[in-house]
């Protein structure tokens, strides 16, 4: 009857750079197929090489599209005459596609070495490929239907990757939390799309944007709130982040790199798409309070995220909390941009948005690097617990170096990329004092203060992470026998570390790409000249010269080394025991532990942390002969205790009440059906 149930339709634009994208898709699909059919397990790492090739090609294609300024590709899957799924990439999509491709390239190279110690390599390899593909599909979806299908695919595939360690009960629980939260988020997103669809009659994002242009502010605000909660759930904004520190560490490290580096950016993408693309658009009127909501959420997320990161002893959980922090920083920029747009200050808005986009790309790079590094550490030292590491720098020099570079970048220190984006965010927030009403002036400045606090605390957190894990003496036998990771793993980390440095020294390159995005005020950001000249930001507000910073830092380092060399030579080194407290050799037990390092902060923020400690003394003979003392200290997870647990308890109780309907008696079930039928009959008549 229906002669074309399923056909495939590609516009002519595909023969631009889009053809590369198709080839990369073919690489991914063949990689996934090989994972299922490859005869020998030993040959499985070649499949990751296919993935890496695909990701490299697509990175090139997206970057080319951004430089060229044209849409590389648009195609429609016609499912039935009335239903189609559109895929169309514009500059915003290309930017996030580029971000995905870069992270996926490094993670795939890394996986070729890492897969040896995963329990189910075939399963993980297949789902890893599907995960990347579904994220790509999310980024290039042109309408709500294809977006939701890709979004669900992404969530489900990542759920399976989180629970892929089937023996481990923690990761099963983490998977459950993740699946629940992500589906609640998706329901909010569906709500936003349905509201927009009912108002405009269009499922396509471009149609939605056109249709919403003249609609009432109340409707737009409702869509904004639904979309912000839904996408914020995926991005991991503060009160909704609860799944993130559970799920990300539970997945294998190559996957957690992609989850933290890219998947939560899908939430950012959604917020930007709905808020700036669909509800905004050129000449649209924004509500100031949208921006204020985003900004405030960003400030809270960044401070709370880093505070919890500080208290973590588990390396991967620390990194996951740090992702919450960085999402907060990105939202600070995005929120400031919306506030500025609402007052028509497009140049400032462009600055803030460029800062947010720059940080999005940066975080994808250094968070992937740090997660891959933590994977190498786990691979080498067989532990996730910081208290069992120590002294790894001598045993794993390359991993240590790259992890250090990532840490410096994430602490926003020059000459690395984190500095550029956080500096831009700072500038945008401080320049927010030029907005007309007093309350936005105060709020943007408070956002700046939150960012400053976050930066300092992040530095403390990563000094702790790097210092305790890599410096000092090994704290356990596992750490003493740690081995350096193999070639593909270090190469992948080296690639990302080099990118961190490159984007920190030559921001002009990425700013040029960002300026291709179709938001007002961004165009001016790209006029900044080539790599070597000072980068002047946004209509001459302010500027800096990253290359000069690098040169002066190198000079400063050289001077210090020279001074140390000349002055230090005259000193005679004497060895004495006086600071050993009477103990001859320095032992690992004398070092600062991760917990001890953060003790001052635990005292300062004790109202937030509500630290608990418990000392248990067991006696041989009371009260003088003590056989052992155990000391236990942790912090109160107040969100779990005071928000989520009461809520789940309530849902559980309600479910138990409703459960009486389900008696297990067949006649009763038939009775329900019959009552429904009779009810319908009555309603019909």
């Amino acid at each position: 009857m229906c002669e074309s149930d399923f056909y495939f339709f590609i516009h002519k634009e595909v023969f631009g750079t889009g053809i590369l994208l198709l080839i990369s898709l073919a690489f991914f699909i063949s990689g996934a197929v090989f994972f299922t059919v490859a005869p020998k397990k030993a040959s499985l790492h070649y499949c990751y090489v296919l993935y890496a090739a695909g990701a490299g090609l697509s990175a090139f294609s997206f970057a080319e599209a951004l430089y060229g300024g044209g849409a590389p590709m648009a195609f429609t899957l016609q499912i039935s005459p009335a239903l189609s799924m559109g895929f169309r990439s514009g500059p915003l999509q290309d930017f996030f596609g580029l971000l995905l491709s870069v992270a996926a390239f490094a993670a795939s190279v890394y996986s070729a070495g890492y897969m040896k110690n995963t329990p189910a390599p075939r399963f993980q390899g297949l789902f890893y490929g599907l995960f990347i593909l579904s994220m790509g599909a999310v980024f290039i979806s042109g309408d709500a239907l294809s977006f939701l299908i890709s979004w669900e695919a992404m969530s489900l595939v990542s759920y399976f990757l989180v629970v892929s360690d089937t023996e481990n009960e923690t990761s099963q629980n983490a998977g459950l939390t993740y699946a629940t939260m992500t589906h609640i988020g998706t329901s909010f997103i569906i709500g936003a799309f349905m509201l927009a669809f009912s108002a405009t009659g269009s499922l396509e994002f471009t149609g939605m944007a056109a249709g919403l242009a003249g609609k009432s502010m109340a409707l737009k605000s409702a869509i904004f709130i639904l979309a912000f909660i839904g996408f914020g759930m995926k991005a991991g904004i503060f009160p909704l982040h609860i799944w993130l520190p559970k799920a990300h560490p539970a997945a294998p490290s190559n996957v957690s790199a992609l989850m933290s580096g890219v998947m939560i950016k899908a939430g950012i993408y959604g917020i930007m798409l709905m808020c700036l693309g669909v509800l905004g658009g050129p000449g649209a009127h924004y509500s100031t309070w949208w921006g204020v909501v985003i900004l405030a959420t960003g400030a809270v997320s960044s401070v709370m995220g880093v505070l919890y990161a500080l208290m973590e002893q588990d390396l991967k959980r620390l990194l996951a909390y740090s992702s919450v922090e960085n999402i907060g920083i990105i939202l600070l920029g995005t929120g400031a941009a919306v506030v500025f747009y609402s007052f028509g200050q497009t140049a400032l808005a462009g600055l803030a948005l460029a800062a947010a986009l720059y940080h999005t790309m940066n975080h994808a790079i250094f968070k992937s690097l740090l997660f891959l590094g933590s994977g190498s550490v786990m691979h080498g030292a067989h532990s996730k617990n910081l208290e069992e590491m120590g002294g790894l720098l001598k045993r794993m020099p390359y991993t240590g170096l790259f992890f250090l570079m990532g840490s410096v970048a994430i602490c926003a220190l020059p000459p690395f990329n984190g500095f550029v984006s956080e500096w831009l965010t700072f500038q945008a927030l401080i320049l927010g004092s030029s907005t007309p009403p007093a309350y936005t002036r105060v709020i943007t400045l408070l956002g700046g203060a939150a960012l400053a606090l976050t930066g300092a605390l992040a530095a403390a957190a990563f000094v702790k992470a790097f210092g305790v894990a890599f410096l000092g003496l090994p704290r356990s036998g596992k750490a003493r026998q740690a081995k350096e990771a193999g070639f593909p793993m270090t190469a992948a980390m080296g690639f990302l570390a080099a990118l961190c440095l490159l984007l920190g020294v030559a921001p002009g390159f990425l700013l040029r790409l960002i300026s291709a995005l179709p938001f007002e005020g961004l165009k001016e950001m790209g006029t900044a000249a080539p790599i070597h000249s000072p980068v002047i930001i946004a209509g001459g507000f302010t500027g800096f010269w990253p290359a000069a910073i690098l040169v002066s830092m190198l000079l400063g380092l050289a001077i210090i080394l020279a001074l140390a060399g000349t002055l230090g030579r005259k000193r005679k080194i004497t060895y004495a025991d006086s600071w050993d407290c009477g103990i001859k050799a320095l032992t690992p037990r004398m070092q600062y532990t991760a917990t001890a390092f953060t003790k001052p902060l635990r005292v300062i923020f004790k109202t937030l942390y509500m630290p608990r400690k418990e000392v248990r003394i067991s006696f041989k003979l009371k009260p003088l002969f003590v056989s052992g003392i155990t000391y236990h200290s942790d912090i109160t997870p107040f969100l779990e205790n005071y928000l989520y647990r009461p809520f789940t308890a309530f849902v559980g109780k309600a479910a138990m009440k409703i459960r009486h309907l389900q008696s297990g008696k067949l006649p009763l079930y038939l009775g329900y059906i019959m009552l429904t039928l009779i009810g319908l009959l009555l309603a019909w008549a």
């Binding site: 006649p667 009959l681 009555l682």
Partner: protein, 222 residues
């Protein structure tokens, strides 16, 4: 043929036959033995086939003959044969063990018919030969659903399901004057498969719970 057409009209054969189907359902819902339920089903199916043939003659729709033939083959011969075999293998007691007594079930069946007749009139307007058939078919569906609720044995649930399906078939072709043959065949085939699967299920339930008493299934609830 024109003569037969005329007789069908004069004697109101279509109404008579469909009322016969309704009566056979009521008989099923109030009978106490599984064998009589099965007999009521065979009668019901024969009447259904007859009604199809009558429609085929009266409205000159030749493909309804085919449907009638397959109804006879499937519902009057094969399904009863298979069910008899299953009942024999299961060695269940012959009583149907309803929850409610026979008079009460009769009253409820009566109430259901009244309900349908009083409410469906305003809904869909069906003119012509089939003007009463829709009401009767909905009554058949509801009464057989009620019978399923009322019985404890899994075998009688299957009987209720089969009656319900006859009712649906009746509603289907009275509204459309014959669906495409391929759909009718498909439905019949589904029915056959359904009965076979249910037969297997029944033996499995018997094995696991030592009885086909549905009250025992409550223990499956977690």
């Amino acid at each position: 043929m024109p003569l037969i057409k005329r007789w069908i009209e004069i004697f109101g054969a279509i109404d008579f036959i469909s009322v016969g189907m309704l009566l056979s359902v009521v008989a099923m819902s109030s009978s106490k033995r599984i064998e009589s339920c099965l007999k009521a089903y065979v009668i019901n199916s024969w009447l259904l086939a007859l009604l199809m043939a009558a429609f085929a003659v009266y409205l000159s729709i030749p493909h309804l003959y085919i449907a009638a033939f397959f109804t006879i083959a499937g519902k009057c011969v094969l399904i009863p044969y298979f069910l008899r075999k299953v009942i024999g293998e299961l060695k269940v007691t012959r009583e149907v063990e309803p929850y409610l007594s026979t008079p009460v079930s009769l009253i409820i069946s009566f109430a259901l018919v009244v309900l349908v007749y009083s409410f469906i009139a305003g809904g869909i307007f069906v003119a012509g030969a089939a003007r009463n058939v829709l009401k009767i078919s909905v009554s058949i569906i509801l009464i057989s659903l009620f019978t399923m609720m009322n019985r404890k044995k899994a075998v009688t649930q299957v009987m209720g399901l089969l009656f319900m399906e006859n009712g649906l078939f009746l509603a289907g072709f009275s509204l459309t004057y014959g669906m495409p043959t391929i759909i009718e065949l498909g439905v019949l085939f589904d029915m056959m498969m359904g009965v076979m699967i249910l037969g297997v299920f029944l033996t499995q339930i018997k094995k696991s719970f030592v009885s086909v008493d549905l009250d025992k299934l409550t223990s499956l609830k977690g």
